[in-house]
């Protein structure tokens, strides 16, 4: 704030800053226009600048694996995880392992889910959960869904536990928290594939590798939420605990953790959603289940069945999200005195009776225990026929759109990005950094993109950047009008927010299905999926920003004689802008992840290289690429947060 005041108060300093920005921009423009006269070393990073980072990382990992005996360690951890996986696999889909009890009939699982749903959120959740599992069973997808769930059931608790332990330690030690924070930042901006490659090297492929990559991927949010929750416990609660004579441990276990319950459970919610997203993608490293099926079907362009599986994943995502959210927000309710035990435990009794009934009936009617793939009611083939018609019918439109976008938008923009001399890009970024946050931000921007220059992946990165930029711009063009329309009435904005909430829980993979259906396998489908995925946070934060403007301000402006339009221009947008920018930030993050994932349908950016690194188990290359993606995300994050902190009045 002081800096800002000084900045405003001293026109000299302000002018100096402005002139530096102007000089940097002018330099960038000159270099871009005068490309022909530039030496090669300013157009692309010269050979001597590019460091063999991948080789170094590989050497380090080889050292860990072979000389330090890490392989034995990781293999034994994997062994432990595998034992757990065998148990859930046996129970859920009858894998031939201890405890040789499964598979549990699908009807029993569906009833259990419905009863839990009822307990957490009443009839609505009961119907949602029951219907989800009924759908899965009827569609003949039970086996795949259970393969997927059996991993989540193991991975989520393990990562919750890990996250809690690390989170508590970080809360106890300020130094650990300080070390952890940047690591978590990077970890949360690394794309999914970057996690997979080391796991392939150390663990191999298959369900246990899938489980382990899922655990690693989903721990960071749990650590964050645990730390946040513990820090948020009101001082008075702690003081009251102390005045009650609680010792350190008593304070932690009986005061802090229970009071932080809601935040910790929100962490659990995030863990489970991350698990689902990852476990679907882990099909790339041989994880069986819904993800693998979806991948195969998409690659075979069997749209009908893809839609069915996509729907299953979506239903599971919504159910898991609603369950954990209801659990997190649940307030304890007292039991009236003198309630007889059968009323007190009525729900458990109902569950027991229904389960015994279903279990017994499934002995008599095998269809209640298992609906085989052939017996399902899948209408995939029929959908294919209908979809074919639809696609043929709208073909002229989609085909024109595809042609137009590729020829007139994508290719020119991509070429422009590739044409830019790298020195010009760095100069431009320095200017942006300088304008937003002074010298420090400028240095950060240049350092982040400097890394990309020396990593040797400049061109690929530029293609990724171009895809993200184009997608976010298109997403914004769609999202802002939608959000403005939604804020027209309370009911409308609530409904749109609910849709955004639900869509945000879908694993990113899902967004590719309709796009591939419409446009086939090409750049347009990729951008389409990214646009869709990025538009959600934009709509959401724009609505929240606009509706978060205090009513008093709007009324005050109205009483000052401002028209509706003036209110929008001078009050609503300026005050909502920081919140909207948070949405932009998330949109960029989401697009980066999505662009990388979309690589398997054919792109030429970092994602494609990453998939190559994955298939050749090249840890070094994978991490170098992953960090390149992370640096883009972190740079945007830094710029937007810095900007928002200077605009937003300190609270």
């Amino acid at each position: 704030m002081n800096a800002l005041l000084a900045y405003v108060a001293q026109p000299a300093a302000r002018n100096q800053r402005l002139s530096i920005v102007v000089i940097l921009v002018a330099a960038a423009i000159t270099m871009a226009l005068g490309r022909g006269m530039l030496p090669d070393s300013l157009i692309r990073p010269p050979e001597w600048m590019i460091l063999p980072l991948a080789d170094w990382i590989n050497a380090f990992f080889d050292f860990l694996r072979d000389d330090m005996g890490m392989l034995a360690v990781t293999r034994s951890i994997a062994g432990g995880v595998e034992t757990l996986l065998d148990v859930t696999a046996n129970l859920l889909y009858g894998k031939n392992r201890w405890p040789w009890l499964g598979p549990i009939p699908w009807s029993v699982v569906a009833i259990t889910a419905a009863v839990i749903g009822y307990g957490l959120g009443g009839t609505k959740l009961a119907v949602l959960a029951g219907a989800t599992f009924l759908w899965v069973a009827l569609m003949g997808q039970w086996q795949w869904a259970m393969e997927t769930l059996s991993v989540i059931v193991v991975a989520a608790p393990v990562s919750v536990l890990l996250g809690l332990l690390v989170g508590i330690s970080a809360w106890r030690s300020r130094r650990l928290a300080a070390v952890l924070n940047p690591i978590l930042n990077i970890a949360q901006s690394l794309p999914h594939f970057a996690y997979m490659i080391p796991v392939v090297v150390f663990i191999g492929v298959g369900p246990k590798a899938g489980a382990i990559v899922t655990i690693i991927f989903s721990v960071p949010p749990m650590i964050r939420m645990t730390l946040l929750g513990l820090q948020k416990v009101p001082d008075e609660v702690i003081e009251s605990g102390k005045m009650c004579g609680a010792t350190g441990w008593q304070l932690l276990l009986r005061t802090r953790l229970p009071t932080a319950r809601t935040d910790i459970l929100i962490g659990v919610n995030q863990v489970i959603m991350q698990c689902l997203a990852m476990v679907v993608l882990a099909s790339f490293i041989g994880m069986p289940g819904l993800g693998q099926k979806l991948l195969q079907l998409l690659q075979a362009l069997r749209i009908g069945q893809s839609i069915e599986i996509g729907l299953t994943i979506v239903l599971l995502a919504i159910t898991l999200d609603r369950f954990t959210r209801a659990w997190a927000l649940r307030q304890p309710v007292h039991v009236p005195r003198g309630m007889p035990w059968h009323e007190r435990y009525r729900l458990s009794l109902v569950w027991l009776v229904l389960v015994i009934l279903a279990g017994g009936l499934s002995q008599v009617f095998p269809l209640l225990a298992e609906i085989g793939r052939g017996q399902g009611f899948s209408v995939g083939a029929a959908i294919d026929v209908v979809m074919d018609r639809v696609i043929v019918a709208i073909y002229p439109v989609t085909d024109w759109l595809r042609w137009f976008l590729i020829v007139w938008v994508f290719i020119p923009i991509r070429d422009a990005f590739l044409w830019m001399p790298f020195a010009a890009v760095l100069s431009l970024l320095a200017a942006v950094g300088y304008a937003v946050g002074g010298r420090r931000s400028a240095v950060i921007c240049v350092a982040f993109f400097g890394y990309i220059a020396i990593s040797g992946w400049w061109d690929r990165t530029m293609i990724t950047v171009y895809t993200v930029v184009v997608s976010v711009v298109i997403a914004a063009l769609l999202a802002f009008p939608t959000a403005i329309w939604a804020t027209g009435s309370d009911a409308r904005s609530r409904r749109v927010l609910l849709i955004c909430d639900s869509m945000q829980t879908f694993p990113s993979f899902i967004y590719l299905i309709p796009m591939i259906m419409l446009f086939g396998v090409n750049d347009v489908a990729v951008v389409g999926a990214v646009v869709l995925f990025a538009a959600i946070p934009l709509v959401r934060y724009t609505i929240e920003g606009l509706r978060g403007v205090p009513l008093g301000l709007v009324e005050a402006a109205g009483m000052s004689g401002a028209t509706r339009r003036q209110i929008r221009r001078h009050v609503l947008w300026p005050i909502a802008l920081p919140t909207i920018m948070v949405g932009v930030n998330q949109a960029v993050m989401f697009s980066l992840f999505m662009v990388i994932i979309a690589a398997f349908i054919g792109t030429q950016d970092l994602g494609q290289e990453m998939q190559r690194a994955l298939s050749s188990a090249d840890v070094g290359k994978g991490l170098v690429l992953g960090l390149a993606v992370a640096t883009i995300g972190l740079m945007v994050d830094h710029l937007i947060m810095k900007w928002a902190s200077t605009v937003r009045p300190p609270s």
């Binding site: 009101p234 008075e236 609660v237 003081e239 009251s240 605990g241 102390k242 005045m243 009650c244 004579g245 609680a246 010792t247 008593q250 009986r254 005061t255 229970p258 009071t259 319950r261 307030q331 304890p332 309710v333 007292h334 039991v335 009236p336 005195r337």
Partner: protein, 344 residues
């Protein structure tokens, strides 16, 4: 009250916030002024406070926000460590207590009530009230019996199984009060206990508090920013400003003889007749004048005596104590002046 050993005794207590307050304070020869401190990166929340709290008295610490009153209370309960000076509880320097001994002291001697209640959201009323008993390892049945007893005492019987979020603010603070009384503490700290309640509930709770104290006779330090509340509840009031106790006296003394212009600003709009009691205005005896006739009660406020003061024609009224003995005399004209204002 006089000649008794104080329960809590503060001697030249300083509380500084900053990088290394204790070292900074011990390095200073004489008391530094706020500006020098601030330049060195320190803020003094409590400045050179010397104060005694006697058994069974209600000491109200009154001050506006930022005056250091809550900090002082937290020093007395050692939720905060002081930077210099000593605080003794029952003659024992609490700054020298080990962690263990401090916990024992809190488990057996101290109870505290918080402004925003500080209840544990996941525990029922019963669970919250028995929490301190649980901490000291009392057995389950004892715990339950004792907790129910205090819950009854604060008038929440029948709500034992409710959770805090199911109660109103006033009820939640009753839970806070019950919890602080569960271990039968000798010393009762209350940190703005009624400030976050609605005015009507607040005065009801003040009433309740006085009723409880009449039966319990605890030694109380009560923090408030509300001068009316202080007058209503206090045996003595300590008024704080910028970390300094500017006056510590009975409510009557504060009203009649404010020590500084700052204190006078608080008393300006106070109806003094409602605060000052006959006992505070009386003199022991005036030579040559014998008081006779009906006596007034030492404990009644002048406001309550207003009619007598107007109707009676004696110049001097005898004042009797609670036991019916004459203990002094009241100058009727002086008293009347205080009720209706001096004749101009």
């Amino acid at each position: 009250m006089i000649a008794q050993q104080p329960v809590i005794s503060c001697q030249n207590v300083w509380k500084l916030f900053g990088p290394a307050p204790a070292d900074y304070m011990s390095g200073m020869q004489d008391t530094p002024d706020p500006e020098t401190m601030q330049a060195a990166g320190y803020v003094a929340a409590v400045r050179d406070v010397t104060l005694d709290v006697f058994p069974g008295e209600i000491l109200v610490v009154m001050g506006l926000s930022g005056s250091g009153k809550s900090t002082l209370l937290r020093c007395m309960s050692r939720l905060l460590d002081i930077s210099s000076g000593t605080i003794k509880v029952d003659g024992q320097d609490i700054g020298a207590l080990s962690e263990r001994a401090l916990i024992e002291l809190r488990r057996n001697k101290m109870g505290m009530v918080f402004q925003n209640f500080g209840l544990l959201p996941h525990r029922t009323v019963l669970g919250n009230v028995s929490f301190p008993l649980e901490m000291r390892g009392q057995d389950r049945h004892d715990r339950r019996d004792r907790a129910l007893e205090v819950i009854e005492l604060v008038g929440l019987a029948g709500r034992e199984d409710h959770f805090p979020h199911e109660l109103s603010g006033g009820q939640q603070q009753r839970v806070g009060i019950a919890r602080s009384l569960a271990i039968e503490p000798d010393i009762w700290f209350l940190d703005e206990p009624f400030s976050s309640l609605d005015p009507l509930i607040r005065s009801e709770m003040q009433e309740e508090f006085l009723r409880l104290q009449a039966g319990l006779g605890k030694t109380i330090v009560f923090i408030t920013h509300d001068f009316d509340e202080a007058l209503r509840l206090a045996d003595r009031i300590a008024i704080m400003k910028d970390g300094i106790v500017v006056q510590c006296d009975t409510p009557e003394k504060v009203v009649l003889e404010p020590a500084t212009p700052y204190v006078a600003k608080f008393t300006e709009n106070i109806d003094k007749a409602r605060v000052v009691r006959a006992g505070a205005m009386m003199v022991q005896g005036i030579a040559g004048i014998a008081a006779n006739g009906d006596a007034v009660l030492a404990d009644s406020t002048l406001h309550e005596l207003a009619r007598t003061l107007v109707d009676d024609d004696r110049d001097i009224l005898p004042v009797e104590g609670a036991d019916g003995k004459i203990i002094g005399m009241l100058d009727r004209q002086d008293a009347l002046d205080l009720v209706v204002g001096t004749r101009t």
